[in-house]
Amino acid sequence: MYHKTVSELSKALANKAISSVELTKLYLERIKQYNPLLNAYITLTEELALAQAKQADQARAQGQATLLTGVPIAHKDIFCTEGIKTSCASKMLDNFIAPYESTLTAKIKQAGMVLLGKTNMDEFAMGSSNENSYYGACKNPWDIERVPGGSSGGSAVAVAARLAPAATGTDTGGSLRQPGALTGTTGLKPTYGRISRYGMIAFASSLDQGGILTYTAEDAALLLETIAGFDPKDSTSAVEPVPSYSKNLNDSLKGVRIGLPKEYFTSQLDTTIGTTIHTAAKELEKLGANLHEISLPNMGLSVPAYYVIALAECSSNLARYDGVRYGYRCQDPKDLLDLYMRSRGEGLGAEVKRRIMIGTYTLSAGYYDAYYLKAQQIRRLIQEDFIKAFKEVDIILGPTSPTTAFKINEKVDDPVAMYLADIYTVAINLAGLPGISIPAGFSNGLPIGMQLIGNYFAEAKLLNVSHQYQQQTDWHRQMPSQFN
């Protein structure tokens, strides 16, 4: 049963092949068995899950079920969930029980899904390896000596090891797509504003976007329909109507124009990954798509621009963690400055502090123009590159990550090398476009992810192409044998 996708589980529940309570117990069992090894979950909400499952079964019996009623899910511990610890994987929020529910999780709750628990992540979503967690690193089920990517590492591992049929995540510079690629799962980051950010703990407000990790694009479509939409509580959420993403999954790819940016296929890319992506592109060509080489000339500037903007915003967004109202407070502060310095010094991790310091620096008087303003100009150039490209093609295709999963501790002492793990993903956040990473092959037993990028609000097309590819391949169906 744990091999089944959300859509298959939905059918199984509808056919009474299994009850939600049975299904939930099955996942809880698996979590208890494997989580000590993988560290995918920070909090397990067992009691709540069983109560919700029971409720879901009742709703189903009364004919009040949605497609998702009774299907379990896990939330990245960045989403505020009322009455449940919401830590953002930080010591700072280790004692924080959210008094309100995020819009995204509220919608999932309303659809009747069952919450299994809150997943591990890089502290405040800052990282590409899930090593920056107060609760310890999360392990890649394909090789537990390797990282699962980050920051939504726990969610990706939960799905990859089948400790949840689906999980939510967030993506600020690749935090859904890169762990998706490194764990062989499907990671969807929608257009900026497609999903409300209300109740999603902010890292970099102009880049953050909620999304999901699933086995298949079909599941991603089903979940996106549920969580997308305008939210009056988030002024940056899009008023654009939400289409039925599932409806167009089976559209033909005939005539779909797919662009391969030449800047993506350089010596920086692992050769096996390069070959794999080209093979995947050929697969899409066989389905009727036309392949084009395109150019995104400012790609090379995206990582520095991204790190200036994201860190500037984070330095301000994290100022609220001051030990005054909630969260960690140091012992016996001797005065206000001491309270601030020790609460933040002790409550925040090394990477978070590094980013706050860099961000504070770039916004400082005398440096703002050279860094923040310049980075915003680059952001516009990158956006224009994409707008131009989407006049010629419908979808842009490339790798998600320059490498497969790397070893734990391999890059911890080299932040720049770590930041370069985001080289193919951050530009999409800077432009605010939707992107998806889907499994496209393996290299030495480690999954390779293919990234598809769509035009603004073209999630339907993105999911259609991904689904068609997944109809022809079974990469997404493969599972790390140790957890099978």
Binding site: F96, A98, R197, S205, R325, L336, L363, S364
Partner: protein, 480 residues
Amino acid sequence: MTWEAVIGLEVHAQLKTKSKIFSESATQYGAEPNTQANAIDLGLPGVLPVLNKEVVKMAVKFGLAVNANINLKSIFARKNYFYPDLPKGYQITQFELPIVGKGILAVADPEGNVKKIGITRAHLEEDAGKSLHEDFHGMTGIDLNRAGTPLLEIVSEPDLRTAKEAVLYLKALHALVRYLDICDGNMQEGSFRCDANVSVHKIGEPFGTRVEIKNLNSFRFIERAIDYEIQRQIEEIEHGNKIVQETRLYNANTHKTKSMRSKEEANDYRYFPEPDLLPLVIDKAFIETIAEKLPELPEAKRQRFISQYGLSAYDAGNLISSQSLADYFEQTVKLSATDPKITANWIMGELSAALNKHDLTIEHSPVTTTMLAGLLKRIHDHTISGKIAKSVFEAMWAGEGDADTIISKQGLKQVTDSSALEKIVAEIIANSPEQLADYLAGKERLFSYFVGQTMKATKGQANPQQVNEILKQQLKRVTH
């Protein structure tokens, strides 16, 4: 060469909305601490601001009233600094692109001389909470009820030259925001706060280094603080010292300013555009709808009062200081159909004195416009004298009814029957042979003796003018 002060003011006007600028919490003053602070005001993780549309209307209203350039696109920014009553660690404000750009406020002095003071800008922002340092045994209490209260910060050009002028400008601004109904103007509750930038220079030389004075919460303190600061700066320079750019705090007990922090200690606020809010975009139609509903503004009203009612600049300036006072005046003039100048005198004399004495505002005056008009009518038609009118006014204030009721009940009707008066006057003359003789011998000041006797005989109810006339006639007759 003489010293000249250069003053610019920053006013924080609390906008009169029901809810906060970025959340649904109430803004009412005086609630139990932290009962008007929700997840957004507390800066909980993951919350987002949503702009209250009312504040935009109010800012536009203000902009139109000072003939300002209203920016169709304005940007919210974050001002970053740490303080325990600033929950998010930043204040959402407007920095590079404020909603209201350059404008002008005409300020009239009591003599009616008008000076145009430049408004640099006015922008929307949220207030912080309050830190309470007393009663917490060495700790600080934080009340976040005020956090997120909408403010319009109105920045003037350095166009003011004296403390008096600064106060005139502030009073004009104070009247304006209340006319526009965007701020209640309550200075004690902090709804209208002022910081002053003060420098001195010798005329013809460049402006001096400016010092910012904070904590000015009454017109009187503002005037004193600025005067003190001007004097202090002049003395410093004359003693060969330099003025340093700093922020000083005014102490209302010592009437002195004290250094709070120097420029070096000033925060680097690291402003950047607020990514949680889209640029604020308004259209011309929106502005026009607001323009159509704009009330008559204080300066226009002042000029109209002078031309329409023939009032002095001083009277007009006083009457327009609040919309309610001006309305009271106009309503009374209309109801009494008598001399507007006398109406103005009564309102600014007896009525204002009584209101002040009882610490009441015009809205709560026990003497209504109808009542005052009734009294003015009786003065006008000589039913009562001005002197009697004062006691009638007092009775009205005490709740004894309207003027006519009081006049008839107390028998205060003025004796205007000339034959009766003539008889009384004749009797008094006849009964005062010595005084008459002296008067006729040239002691003309004895005329007032006869007036006094007549008034006494009529218990003050005779019309003094009429008494004069009759006395003159009869005394003339005696001499011939």
